[in-house]
Symmetry: C2
Subunit: 564 residues, 2 copies
């Protein structure tokens, strides 16, 4: 039997992973990676941190864990994988099982035959044909040359003002990187909120924090890039505003590079990604596809999604690499779309479905809660975490969670990601057995406490109200009693100032006669995080009040300006 | 209907939680906590950090999240719960449904009747009758007075030498606390290893690290405490060694306080803990028990265990508090015995079964792997994590995991705790969808990579060998080829020096003729963390070598002295 010939198109994350896995399982296969770019195995998720100066040695983006740059020599010596960089694949010919590419040395077209082909062609940052888009000073942050360009701007220090377009993950990371480079930033987002994997209130809290560092403009798009002598001088927004700047970074999402696949007759999905089965096999059984160029099922909705995450690319690459050698034995079944980003001193992450996504996907019977607490005890210098949990109301099935704050967001999102993947209900989470010691968590972990609050809500022990709902009631001037139940000194230091009455929880029972005579009066209770607000609501209900609501998360989740 | 009378015996963690939960669900119940100690709701897990000077305000151990000390006044005002502190319960009379206690003001016996009783009597630190045990300078670290005593020693600064007896969680935390107080410490443990929830090799790695801070003596117990004028001057060990010291802290475990329950005729288990069902109900349906005085099922073995953890105490208290009000509606089904502690700059944690515990419990068909890697990329200043994973070989069911190192251990243990609770198999974990961004993790999270290595082992892609097994082979002078496949500069900086040959992975294929002619020769391969060691093993196997083993975890998990 002759050696198996494997060609991998794409040399960033998923491609090299697939090639390496194939090599480990078959020492004798002939494995070739064809890579359009000059570099291989770039840690592309690390670009913002290189630009932001978290480290200075560019080669760290290309290194193996042992500190060796993963260039063509490395791939050959360590893995016996042939790599052809700066090489563009022009076409796939499935009927001949060959790949047509341009040899950069000869500038001539060549053909290479495969037994199995793996497409890992990635995605391209969107750059719509806005007037002026080709001016100097406009870039994306998606490739190694992009990272080099922006890092050079940091090192030169001449650019003072920049506009970042797009408030998604990459946009937010770019904002931080450029801010750390000492550049004054305006972030422009077309939608009414940042980070659309978050629900509006959570996004608003992130926005409030980002506003402390940079200028944020929502619901506004770019009408044109203005320039002089071919260089960018300002960004003109849809509403006519002109923002002077020397640099604009477009981060308005990516499009799967599926043209090669489409031209080869492979099935392409509605998202634009290549369609694959659980084995990462395309509609042609000898062609596999992995990474940012494909679509995969969302495991909750079973609907296909384009999920261009570096971790999934690696997992998919590992599966395809095994299957091209061993036959279809390994599976990647889909994603719950877990994601996280660092925003200065905040972590912002989510897993599963947000409330707005769940509703869009047809989940109508859902319940949510917001919980705010420290990640570990105050005496261990705990930091705030805010979680929004989304569950199916009848079954208690956990559909998703969003977590933000200066606390240990990464651990919280990991816990919820496991819960969603395990199809846990709220009751399962209520007795989760997590590692507790004061340096690491509260005795009742923030995630478990969130499940407890949800249990209380599902058992109808209390009714909740969100900041948005409360704001709407205020705007509609609905008659209600607003009750802050903290201590007077806390009230002096910080308060909403929306017409609330202060009755400390410890006095509420004695001062119950100060409550309205009409037991049907709507009463909204809260404290700093609304644990005491919850206890106050229970007392009022026990005294016959029928329309009491707890402002969930309390003052810590009020995303607008407070009186103090 | 008259108000329900609830008595809670015990006011530390589980008791107040149960009482508070009962209050929230029934505003009119008459709820009393009877507490032997002077304080209430002490954050007892925080004692070591108070002693160690992580914070200076003692009242922080007693505060609510809003910063109010939880004393009797607080419990009455905020929760309408009566508390009787400094009050010892003398007996329970189930037939009369009453509790007999000593009124500290009158010094007379009183009786109080209950409809439902909750026992939260805790556990007591063991203090065996060793000669000299009553000398001044010998303490435990389990109560608020203990914490006050040791904190005072820190503040006075006169004590220079101490012995800590017991290398479990509390012993290790005490070692850190006293070391931070500038005291020279010797840690003495009777068993051949520290932290028995870890397997030996993992414990050895922790020991090696602890040895860099304090003196550790294993396999040695205390024969006597020596003193002058009633004050401790030295600890005499079983082997005759005398260790001069002014302070000794005994941390050799706790015993459930189940005497009251036993005397009242309640069923006590083999662990010494009160037997309860999933509703936290004892053998008497009107008496519930929670916290460190009970035993609960281990959810993997279904065997009862004594699991005195603060987080479980709170969860159990919440369940009992609900059930005494609403009938048996809430459940706590058991524990997977997740635990963690901080050891200077290391985290040390575990969940589920260790290999030694699994074997003891009759799991004979198990597989393990050790994985060492950074927690996040090197360019983000990642720190080392070492994980040992234990699974059932035939089903791939995850039985437990142990994680140690300076990296983010807490998140890793939380992930594995969720996996064990969810009854995940290795295949489930191999495609876990965890939050990835460079500030938080590697593209393939350490936990997922651990599952991948286990998959490779279960699929028999490679054979592994542990540090102990390798050491044993060395001691037996077994003929084998030892192969380090790192780069020469790495070899110069650090190496085991146990007779190994260096062939960098990138040269192995070219130098395959340097390998023994006998293809059955035993060959052990490794690198720093053994990823390259694994690749080398695959190459050798592909060249016909039949007896190749990867030293799992590589140099990073060698728990003995290296040549350099």
């Amino acid at each position: 039997m002759s050696n198996k010939r494997i060609i991998v198109v794409g040399g960033s994350a998923a491609g090299p992973k697939a090639a390496s896995r194939a090599r480990r399982l078959d020492e004798h296969a002939e494995i070739t990676i064809i890579q359009k770019a000059a570099d291989l195995s770039m840690a592309s998720c690390g670009y913002p941190y290189y630009v932001g100066g978290f480290f200075d040695d560019r080669s760290q983006l290309l290194c193996s864990p042992a500190g060796v740059v993963r260039d063509s020599k490395f791939f050959w010596n360590a893995k016996k994988i042939t790599t052809r960089v700066n090489t563009q694949v022009l076409a796939i010919h499935p009927e001949k099982k060959s790949v047509e590419f341009l040899n950069p040395e000869t500038d001539k077209t060549e053909f290479m035959e495969y037994d199995k082909l793996i497409l890992a062609t990635g995605a391209t940052a969107r750059k719509p044909p806005i007037p002026g888009v080709d001016l100097e000073g406009i870039t994306t942050l998606q490739s190694m040359p992009d990272a080099d360009y922006l890092r050079n701007i940091r090192d030169e220090g001449t650019i003072k003002k920049a506009v970042v377009i797009g408030g998604g993950l990459i946009g937010i990371e770019t904002v931080e990187a450029l801010h750390l480079a000492g550049i004054e930033i305006t972030l422009v987002e077309l939608l009414p909120q940042l980070l659309t994997f978050l629900d509006e209130q959570m996004a608003r809290l992130v926005e409030k924090y980002v506003q402390t560092k940079v200028n944020v403009i929502l619901k506004n798009g770019v009408a044109a890039f203005l320039g002089e002598n071919g260089k960018l001088t300002a960004v003109k927004l849809n509403d006519g505003t002109e923002i002077p700047c020397d640099l604009a970074v477009m981060a308005i999402g990516v499009t799967p590079n599926s043209k090669l696949a489409k031209d080869a007759g492979l099935t392409i999905g509605a998202t634009g990604g290549v369609v694959v089965n659980g084995y990462m096999q395309t509609s042609n059984p000898d062609i596999y596809a992995v990474g940012d160029c494909i679509e995969v099922p969302n495991l909750i909705t079973q609907k296909p999604v384009h999920a261009p995450y570096g971790d999934l690319a690696n997992l998919q690459g590992r599966v395809a690499g095994e299957n091209v050698i061993a036959g279809n034995v390994a599976k990647f079944t889909g994603t719950i779309q877990t994601g996280i980003c660092k925003v200065f001193d905040y972590g912002v992450g989510a897993t599963g479905l947000s409330e707005q996504n769940a509703r869009r996907m047809g989940f109508n019977n859902i319940e949510t809660v917001i919980n705010a607490s420290l990640d570990k005890p105050g005496f261990m210098k705990g930091n705030l975490l805010i979680t929004k949990l989304v569950v199916d109301k009848s079954s208690g099935l956990i559909l998703g969670a969003q977590v933000i704050g200066p606390g240990d967001v990464s651990k919280q999102v990991a816990i919820w990601a496991m819960a969603v993947k395990a199809k846990f209900t709220v009751d399962d989470m209520a007795n989760a057995d997590l590692p507790y010691a004061p340096p690491f968590s509260l005795a009742i972990d923030h995630s478990i406490a969130t499940a407890h609050i949800m249990q209380n809500k599902l058992k109808r022990f209390f009714n909740g109200i969100s900041a948005e709902q409360l704001k709407e009631k205020l705007q509609n001037k609905e008659p209600m009693l607003l009750l802050d139940v903290r201590n007077p000194d806390e009230f002096e230091q910080m308060r909403l100032g929306i017409g609330e009455k202060l009755i400390p929880l410890g006095q509420l029972r004695k001062r119950i006669d100060e409550m309205p005579a009409d037991k049907n009066t709507e009463i909204i209770t809260w404290c700093k995080i609304s644990l005491r607000g919850y206890e106050a609501a229970l007392i009022l209900q026990a005294h016959g009040y029928t329309n009491v609501k707890v402002f969930e998360g309390g003052i810590m989740v009020w995303p607008w300006t407070r009186e103090k």
